[in-house]
């Protein structure tokens, strides 16, 4: 007791000298306290799974013998796996065709809305954006019914035109998926472009009007350059998105017979099937990491190129 009461004043005596330092450390601690919830959550849902996936990817699961350490065997196996490369090549082909089509469409719509020559532009904006709010599963079911040749809309169309087109024959399925994806995401990209156009200072248009520029000239000289930054962003988002195609090829086979969709149709689907029906979690983890690395590399390359162009101009 005596010792306790004695230490009080002593500590108090030294207090004035050390206050600034203590306040600084306390302030630093408060900062950490604010960041901590985010940090903990980030570590739990982001860092831990990635580290765990990296750890898993070094093992092979066996029904007989359980989990065995395999070193980099999963990665070398992946490099030589024709099914993985088949799926990878498919999403690359898909990206090369679908992303430009979708972004050009989105850009055209954004320019049309921005021109102020459309009636009910607010309404149109909502309508074009609406598909983005439809869950991908619902949209796949809906499109599946519309494009199915044995029932629904496409059968009627074929009957009417006397044709026998099948949007879900193996060679055409990817195009049909492209239609579904374009439908779903054009509105989203359009909004990004539209926001960029709205941010253009009005003085520029006034100056252009004074100079006697016509609408096309305004688009070429003012509006398109204004879109460049958001174009880089939308391209990156779209590439990441198409590399993750999963829902459509997962659902379509149960609606349509023999649409050519395999268990390795896209890398994402392949990883899912490896992990959940093949119980090859280690291999699936390796695939996931490699896909993530490739997606990041491609997105990064696009970004660097985009930045460079933006800086040069």
């Amino acid at each position: 007791m005596a010792a306790l009461t004695h230490t009080g004043p002593v500590a108090g005596a030294t207090a004035p000298a050390s206050t600034p330092r203590r306040m600084r450390t306390r302030r630093r601690q408060i900062g950490w306290a604010f960041v901590a919830p985010f940090g903990a959550l980030f570590a739990l849902v982001f860092i831990v799974p990635i580290v765990y996936a990296a750890y898993l990817s070094l093992f092979q699961e066996r029904l007989v013998g359980g989990r065995v350490f395999a070193g980099l065997a999963n990665y070398t196996k992946l490099a030589a796996d024709p099914q993985f490369w088949d799926g990878f090549a498919r999403v690359v082909r898909f990206t090369i065709v679908q992303v430009p089509v979708m972004l050009l469409l989105a850009m055209a719509l954004a320019l049309a809305l921005d021109s102020l020559r459309l009636r009910g532009s607010k309404f149109l904006r909502i309508v074009i954006f609406l598909p983005y709010a439809v869950p991908a599963i619902v949209s796949t079911l809906m499109w599946g019914f519309m494009l199915g040749v044995r029932y629904g809309l496409f059968r009627n169309l074929n009957d009417w035109l006397g044709t026998s087109l099948d949007p879900f024959r193996p060679g055409a399925t990817l195009v049909s998926i492209g239609v579904m994806v374009t439908w779903a995401f054009t509105g989203y990209n359009m909004l990004i472009f539209y926001a960029a156009l709205r941010a253009v200072p009005h003085e520029l248009y006034e100056a252009a009007a004074i100079d006697g520029a016509n609408q096309w000239r305004v688009i070429r000289a003012i509006k398109l350059p204004a879109l460049r930054g958001s174009l880089v962003v939308t391209i990156i988002f779209s590439i990441i998105g198409t590399f993750q195609i999963f829902n459509e090829p997962q659902i379509l086979p149960s609606m349509v017979a023999n649409s050519g969709i395999t268990t390795y149709y896209t890398p994402n689907l392949y990883a899912y099937n490896l992990a959940f029906t093949g119980s090859q979690q280690g291999y699936a983890a390796a695939l996931a990491l490699v896909m993530a690395a490739m997606t990041i590399a491609i997105a990064y390359a696009v970004q660097i190129r985009g930045m460079k162009r933006a800086l040069q101009d």
Partner: protein, 439 residues
């Protein structure tokens, strides 16, 4: 696509994170499971997608005061197997009883994830079950599950469509079936005797009935062979049906399109498991009164050989907490008093006693024009040939079959025999990777 695939990853990530935590914490202390909780107050958890199991619970709880049974529907069979694998890996949340399709039993039994029920007394029950069903749950000398429902292969045929084609009786042999197929095909461009878009289970039941045994499993050594004469006979027959355009390869089973063709009678037969009896009325209400059930057509006139197409069983995980109580309940609803409420609700069970019961056999089924379907299916069940085995990795094998069969069904490239050969090669590669000796 974008957002939801990310959203999908979040639960996966959480599960893997949880599994990691659980894995590291259980390593040493998980050995005592099993004895505690037996007798007295036990709380049983049952994972099942069979709605009739719950009907046996009240009677069991009454007869075993203090024991409570919680039947949980974890989702489709593949969802259930995944959840079980995760729970076993994590070491927590392992249920006391789990439903398995017959082909999934070895998948869990071989790596030692299931309890050998002979240690709990299951060896005495053999004679009360159908031989083929019992054969499905046996592995060597062990019994790893008890059969709970059964899918004898049967032929559902639309008598109205057959009458249009001038046929009044169900085809008794596959030769009759082939002749009937040609007559039905002549009825119209959409008329077929059956559809097939690569139905592996049907093809295997055809091989099974013909006497082919493509898979032989002995412990961890697995042999796959599609070259037996009996197997070839079945495969060649079905190839002929495909080649002569006698099968609809555009309509896939369980699709809306399938419902439509069943309703309007343009699909004349379905060769499926006996479980279709309860599903068909929902799928094809417009065809009420037209369908009949018959035995699968035979390879030789006068024979009665059958096969299986589906069916399931229940086993007790090795990591279950209340094994004795779990076994008591298992015995109760697959074999004992608990059978009756399930049978009354429409369950088709491989119990010899039930299948011989006049009350079960002689009930007229309105949807099938008053036919006593129970008697036909009971006969089909007893006819199911024994000796069939599934490879332990069948769940995976069946998932890739579609990849390989698709070119044949879409463009007629290749043959069924070639598809099976490629399938075999893939199975061998996969099986060996998984630690089996497959040849």
């Amino acid at each position: 696509m974008r957002l939801s695939s990310k959203a999908r990853l979040v639960p996966v990530a959480l599960v893997t994170a949880a599994a990691l935590v659980a894995c590291t914490s259980t390593g040493g202390g998980g050995g005592s499971a099993g004895s505690e909780g037996d007798g007295g107050n036990a709380k049983l958890t049952v994972w099942s997608w069979d709605g009739t199991v719950e009907l046996a619970v009240p009677g069991f709880e009454e007869a075993n005061p203090g024991t409570t049974v919680d039947v949980v529907n974890v989702g489709s069979s593949s969802d259930l197997y995944q959840s079980l694998d995760n729970a076993i890996q994590a070491g927590t949340g392992v249920p006391d009883l789990v439903m398995f399709e017959y082909f999934a039993v070895p998948y869990f039994a071989i790596p030692g994830k299931l309890t050998d029920l002979t240690t709990l007394g299951a060896g005495d029950l053999e004679d009360d079950f159908l031989p083929a069903a019992w054969n499905n749950v046996k592995l060597g000398e062990g019994v790893y599950a008890l059969p709970s429902d059964y899918g004898p292969a049967a032929m559902f045929w639309n008598s109205a469509t057959f009458a249009q084609a001038g046929i009044t009786e169900a085809p008794a042999t596959w030769d009759d079936y082939y002749e009937a197929a040609k007559k039905i095909r002549a009825l119209g461009p959409d008329h077929y005797i059956a559809q097939d878009t690569g139905d592996l289970f049907f093809l295997l039941s055809l091989i099974w009935q013909a006497g082919g045994r493509p898979f032989t499993v002995d412990g961890t050594s697995v042999k796959i062979d599609f070259s037996e004469p009996a197997t070839k006979k079945a495969v060649d027959f079905w190839q002929k049906m495909l080649d002569e355009d006698l099968l609809n390869t555009k309509v896939t089973a369980w699709s809306d399109d399938w419902n439509r063709t069943l309703n309007d009678g343009s699909l004349a037969t379905q060769n499926m498991g006996g479980w279709l009896t309860s599903t068909l009325p929902e799928r094809a209400p417009d065809a009420a009164g037209d369908f009949r059930v018959a035995l699968m057509p035979q390879w030789e006139a006068g024979q009665t050989v059958g096969a299986e197409n589906g069916g399931s069983s229940f086993g007790i995980p090795e990591a279950a907490q209340n094994k004795q109580a779990a076994y008591d309940f298992l015995e109760y609803f697959t074999h004992g008093e608990g059978l009756q409420p399930r049978v009354d609700a429409g369950a088709f069970v491989p119990s010899a006693k039930v299948l011989d019961d006049a009350a079960f056999r002689e009930v007229p089924n309105e949807y099938f024009g008053g036919q006593a379907t129970g008697a036909v299916l009971a006969e089909a069940s007893k006819a199911a040939a024994v000796g069939w085995q599934y490879p332990p990795f069948f769940e995976w094998a069946r998932s890739i079959y579609g990849d390989l069969a698709s070119p044949l069904y879409t463009s007629g490239q290749g043959s069924l025999a070639a598809v099976l050969e490629t399938w075999k090669q893939r199975c061998i590669a996969y099986g060996n990777e998984q630690g089996f000796e497959v040849s």
